[in-house]
Amino acid sequence: MASAVHLDGITKRFPGVVANDDVDLEVERGTVHALLGENGAGKTTLMNVLYGLYEPTSGEVRLDGEPQAFRSPRDAIDAGIGMIHQHFMLVDPMTVTENITLGNEPRKWGGLAVDRAGAREAVVELADRYGFDVDPDARIEDVSVGEQQRVEILKALYRGADVLILDEPTAVLTPQEVDELFDVLDELTAQGKTIIFITHKLGEAMRAADDITVLRDGEKVGAVDANATSQEELAELMVGREVLLDVDHGAADAGDVVAAVSDVVVEDDRDVRAVDGVSFEVRAGEVFGIAGVDGNGQSELVEAVTGLQEVDAGEIRFRGEDVTSTSRRERIDSGMAYIPEDRQERGLVMEFDLVENGLLGSQHGREFAPNGRIDWGDTRAHADAIIDEYDVRPPNADAEAHSLSGGNQQKFIVGREFERDPELVVASHPTRGVDVGSIEFIHERLLELRQQGVAILLVSSKLEEVQGLSDRLAVVYEGEFIDVVDPDETTEEELGLLMAGERPGDGDGGGGGFETASEAEPAPSTNADAADGEEA
């Protein structure tokens, strides 16, 4: 029997880059296939070829043995392919139903009107069939990320997809939601659907997939049976060398309190309390971690601490002084470094070159701009130093920020912030979207600073990261700290439950999400030990 999907010798070139180089991929009907690789390995590109977004430079796409010539996603959709992108392709101000039916609206009155009742009904029916919990009338901008993902899947199913491609579907989910997603994938394959999902998390690939294909630098470096491989083997395939899967951060040697947050309340644009009375302290020489599913107030909390968002109640002290309402600039000047979660929006000016970006935040400082006049010579030297020290590639200070890969952008930001001689580093998702090698590097640097007595406030939705690096770990849920734990004494399952809003000692299951999962107990992890290093 021919495979459901067969990519044969796909090559895709972009100006200056070979994103895919003679890649083969075979996926059997009714199976889950994981596509594994570092950042920039070419996973997304390969799937975009399958989805008709890109035409391959050479090579062939075959479905059930039939060669296809997709010229646009419309062709791919017609052939039964659905893709859920890394960034959701949803129209925020439109409703769930409108999004699911977009481009395929049921009509009435000879096409003159959308059959809105019919559309809604179709969506409800579809959601019921696969056991999805979605509100057909909610606006996308008002629903959780997990629900948005379900909408994306429904969108593909609505268009009759037999083959579903999911690009890094788990990056934004809690462990519980991940389990639920995997259950849904099982349900889908049971109903005959074929799934390809992209990830760079080894554990996930092994857990959820039947087969795994590994890409490196655009080339296929291996195809393995998920049940007959190990994390070590996969890691080596991915990176091309042996990788240390565990960080050992040694004992904390905490000193004085550097930053103290008490009873802080932050309201978002819509006057909803995003941070609802949070208190904690960060001491010199310790990493204070905050874990939680995205959207539970971490961003607002961090921006309040760093001076980018107004605090509606409570107090923030830094080095003993009340900084609750001081400007962002003053906080930078007094020794607060900040690695923002969104590097392309906040952390770098994309149109500026690295020289100019190296100055961001120091443009009023004595060092580079005495008397308000910028010393471009010093500034350039500074950028060169960062590039050198933090291995930013290409090593060219005249390159504009947008021309760098995400990982290199991140390294540049990390370098710039670490070189401020900070007393407090606020690191928000410092390794998001960054590949394994760079993650290792950034983690090492963070721990180095900690060793030097810098206080570090770390926020991440990657459990293994916060758990591995933190000396103390708070779990945030709906704007509140649900608990502060010793990360070494807490299992991933316990953390997952906390992140889902289960207060310690609270027995009730079900944190929303997929219906199919509401009665399922947390799926036992196959290899709890390896969980720590899952990302690495």
Binding site: R328, G347, A369, G372
Partner: protein, 415 residues
């Protein structure tokens, strides 16, 4: 970094592909516009009637208007006919420089705001306010000084008054945008109408010159006006004013590229979120940039009063709107504004020459102006054109507006 290094960097910036390409595209846009303009002249020439003797013949067909004459008058006429030997510093060229001077200031005004990510359509109104304030301020002050001392004191004073009031008027949409989130495109358009209305009220009432039928203030004494040295006494042009303009170009360039404030402005212009992250107080920067932009417009107004008219009179020409086109053609770069202002100065001044020398309706020049802007806006068109020609141009992308309204180059944001 050594001076040599710095020089090398400056040079490399200069020959940067995008800059070269920009100049190429601007020139090509000019040529194409002239070609289309020529066709327009011919078509119009077929639609009117004239005697056989007056007609010119191209491709065996008679036309009433001759595009060659039109463009000869437009460009050479505006330069004062340098080829004919009769060139004089008192001729049409002085008018061209006079227009250039004003366009330079309004162009810089728009460019500065653009660089801060703000679309200041209110330059016109800010100029009106600056002009009126200058006229009134200088009239008041001219009672205390006179003669050469008067000139030396009053001209800087007038410029100061113009810039302060223009700046204050520019700060209004700034404050509204920063603190009330009011769209500056709307508020500046509205404020233009308000400025004109209030100026008319004041100048037809309390501040009216009783000896004139026009709605104007009492004329400034001669010593309170820009002196005409060497150039254009009759043409109301002063090389001193142009000198101020060149200084303004250099100063704005310096401020934008070499000062912390300029860095703040540029950062908030291209990426406000990153600017905030970098410690830029976005509200203050918005207000400051619009105030500075208004101040430049106010100086344009002051020059109109102290160099051209010698009084404030209602019905200030549209230098403010022309400033938008100047800035756009210049890619919002202060150095480019100098060149673009000269080009539009030529067009403005050439219009009168064309009108005087031919029967072609002068609105033609308005069409040309639009075409130039249109072509400048579409570098892609020229790239495609160039691909069809041997010897391709560079592939790099050209700069469009640096902000104002989102001008992302691609719909895709890849991570």
């Amino acid at each position: 970094m050594s001076p040599a290094d710095r020089a090398r960097k400056a040079l490399s910036r200069l020959v940067e592909a995008s800059a070269t390409e920009r100049i190429l595209i601007s020139s090509a846009a000019l040529v194409l516009s002239v070609l289309i303009g020529a066709v327009l002249v011919l078509v119009a020439g077929r639609m009117t009637s004239c005697t056989a003797g007056e007609a010119v013949y191209y491709f065996g067909t008679g036309f009433c208007y001759d595009p060659v004459v039109v463009f000869d008058r437009l460009f050479l006429g505006a330069l004062g006919d340098p080829l004919s030997g009769g060139w004089s510093p008192n001729g049409q060229f002085a008018i061209t420089l006079r227009e250039t001077t004003l366009l330079l200031f309004t162009g810089l005004s728009v460019a500065l705001a653009f660089r801060a990510g703000i679309f200041n359509i209110g330059t016109q109104g800010q100029m009106v306010v600056g002009a009126l304030a200058t006229a009134l301020g200088v009239l008041w002050a001219s009672a205390f000084v006179s003669g050469l001392v008067g000139t030396v004191v009053l001209i800087p004073f007038g410029l100061l008054v113009g810039s302060v009031f223009g700046g204050l008027y520019g700060a209004i949409p700034g404050v509204l945008k920063a603190y009330a989130d009011a769209n500056e495109v709307i508020t500046t358009i509205m404020l233009n109408f308000v400025a004109t209305g209030v100026a008319l009220y004041l100048v037809s009432g309390v501040f009216k010159d009783p000896n004139s039928a026009a709605n104007q203030t009492v004329p400034l004494p001669e010593f309170a006006q820009f002196p005409s040295l060497f150039f254009g006494a009759r043409q109301d042009f002063s090389i001193v004013a142009l000198g101020f303009g060149l200084v303004a170009i250099a100063a704005l360039y310096y401020v934008l590229e070499h000062t912390a404030f300029g860095y703040d402005v540029r950062t908030s212009g291209v990426q406000p979120e990153a600017a905030e992250y970098g410690g830029v107080d976005s509200k203050r920067t918005i207000v400051a940039s619009l105030a500075l932009s208004g101040a430049l417009a106010g100086i344009a107004g002051a020059m109109y009063v102290m160099m051209i008219l010698g009084t404030f009179q209602t019905g200030i020409p549209d230098y403010g709107f022309d400033g938008i086109t100047v800035s756009i053609l210049a890619g919002n770069n202060p150095l480019g504004v100098g060149v673009a202002a000269l080009l539009f100065g030529v067009l403005k001044s050439g219009t009168t020459v064309v009108q005087f020398a031919t029967d072609v309706p002068p609105q033609l020049v308005g069409v040309l102006r639009g075409l130039i802007i249109l072509f400048v806006a579409m570098p892609e068109f020229f790239r495609l054109l160039a691909k069809g020609l041997p010897g391709q141009w560079s592939e790099s992308e050209a700069v469009a507006t640096d902000g104002g309204v989102a001008v992302d180059q691609g719909g895709e944001t890849d991570e």
